[in-house]
Amino acid sequence: MDGARKAAEGEILAVEGVSLAFGGVRALSEVGFRVARGELFAIIGPNGAGKTSMLNCISGRYRPQSGTVRFKGDDVTHLSPNHRAAIGIGRTFQNLALFGHMTVLDNIMVGRHHLLRSNLLSGALYWLGGAQKEELAHRRDVEEIIDFLEIQHVRKATAGTLSYGLRKRVELARAVALKPDLILLDEPMAGMNLEEKEDMARYIVDLNEEWGMTVVMIEHDMGVVMDISHRVMVLDFGRKIAEGLPAEVMAHPQVRSAYLGVTDDAEAAPEPAPGVT
């Protein structure tokens, strides 16, 4: 706990007491955690544990019934999703959500939306209004992202025609195009083969280390989570049951029983520990 407090200054995301219910179903109960700037933070938990709901509360798709979400110190709990994207929260989706009929390039350009200044009028006065110059600058940034994610060869292709792994990469590229400070990844490696997973893990680490983006990701592949994440939070039935370094978390008895299905002999200490760090 004190570790998180100490980092209050370099803290980019602070979630406090977030509860979310759909009718009688409690998706999240009093979940709180903090993510420091530059961290690679993973959320794990069994299916239906509320991981995606948590991500949706951060990105603004859901509004929690109680609790607050602070981003860079500001309360963003009541901001619309597009507003949050504009201030630097990018995300990808669990089920591929590319614009299937558009080209890869157009998909990524949509991610630049809030960075493009020109409005309808200057767009109409294309050459006079500087819109062209602006677009060229953006195209350079976009090319850099395309290079980084190694999707040069498909940039003109229609997004819907690509293979699954490539589409996942294009979706990541689109989220990166926002130039977010915080990027939320919902199962970036689901359904990938080993090689694709390794590539994706490398991209995520590079995004974090070289591009300086804070990453919050949901991932089921424990090997990857243990390898690349700095800290891990475990959710189960909408409650936080553990948070800490990957190794610490995995050693936690409640996590072992809830998540890995291992009924340890050491279950002699089943006290609920919402604040375990």
Partner: protein, 297 residues
């Protein structure tokens, strides 16, 4: 065979068809962006024509200014309708939204009749020359201008969707609203803009037809003719709307020709488009360019 009449009707068909195409585009724009089937599209055409007529005859201002004022008015009007009437309907069943737009169309019709009367009013003369000669054919200036205006609008639409920030945002929103929002696109702005553009561009069509035929409630017939056009072209395809419009325009004039030469059934020009509507719905419900809904089970 009356070749002169045939030629005349083909030219008519192309010009009227281009106008249908323009209004069909406006209809598709709203449908694509906000998933609203707008039964009041024809009334946008009508209101645009009346407002322009009002500026020109009441205040005697030059046509260009009157026209620009009309566009400005229609932009504001489109945004207003979206915000006041349709925004609260977000999330309501499709049928309710359709009923609301039908209601709007009736209210607008009645309001226009109340404000401007039921008789057709001619526009003041706009062009110094009534007609020009093109390739030996005598063509009315208005028709020629209207054709160019239509083509200009279509080019503008194509450019807007391909190359501008808002155009891209609109395509993204049409595809998936939630994803668009996660990328920083304001859905409200996109919806308002779609309605604004749709209303203003429809008004252009209204002014053109008004200049040719005079302004009266009959103008909103374009809103009805738009349905065969968009069904033929595909409800969610801008290109389809344009093409559907031109085809319907040509078709109704050719039907008129066949009827006047041989069949003598009468009124084919009114009815033929709706035969097309029915046939298309039976054999190719997604139209020429529409996207099929893919259902994943």
């Amino acid at each position: 065979m009356d070749w002169a009449l045939l030629l005349q009707l083909v030219v008519n068909g192309l010009i009227v068809g281009a106008l249908y195409g323009v209004v069909a585009m406006c209809f598709v724009l709203i449908y694509k962006a906000s998933q609203v089937v707008n039964f009041a599209q024809g009334e946008f055409v009508l209101i645009g024509a009346w407002v322009c007529w009002f500026f020109l005859t009441k205040y005697q201002i030059p046509f260009v200014w009157g026209f620009l004022l009309t566009l400005a008015f229609m932009v504001a009007f489109g945004v207003l309708v979206q915000i006041v009437v349709l925004r609260p309907m977000i999330g309501e069943p499709v049928i309710s939204v359709i009923m609301v737009t039908i209601g709007l169309s009736i209210v607008f019709q009645a309001t226009m009749k109340w404000a401007f009367g039921v008789f057709a009013q001619p526009f003041p003369p706009i062009f110094a020359q009534e007609s020009v000669t093109v390739l030996g054919l005598e063509v009315r200036t208005v028709y020629l201008v209207s054709l160019f205006v239509s083509l200009g609008i279509m080019g503008g639409f194509a450019y807007f969707f391909k190359a501008t920030r808002m155009g891209l945002a609109m395509r993204a929103t049409a595809f998936d609203q939630q994803v668009a929002q996660s990328l920083g696109i304001s859905i409200r702005t996109v919806f308002a803009m779609a309605w604004a553009i749709s209303a203003a561009v429809s008004a252009v069509a209204g002014v053109v037809v008004g200049v040719v035929n005079g302004v009266s409630s009959a103008l909103s017939f374009i809103g009805i003719k738009v349905f065969p056009a968009v069904i033929l072209g595909g409800l969610d395809s801008i290109v389809g709307g344009v093409l559907g419009g031109v085809i319907i325009g040509l078709l109704e004039n050719l039907a008129h020709f066949v009827d006047s030469q041989w069949l003598h059934w009468g009124n084919m020009i009114e009815i033929a488009p709706f035969w097309v509507l029915i046939v298309i719905l039976m054999i190719k419900p997604y139209g020429l360019f529409g996207t099929r809904d893919i259902e994943r089970v």
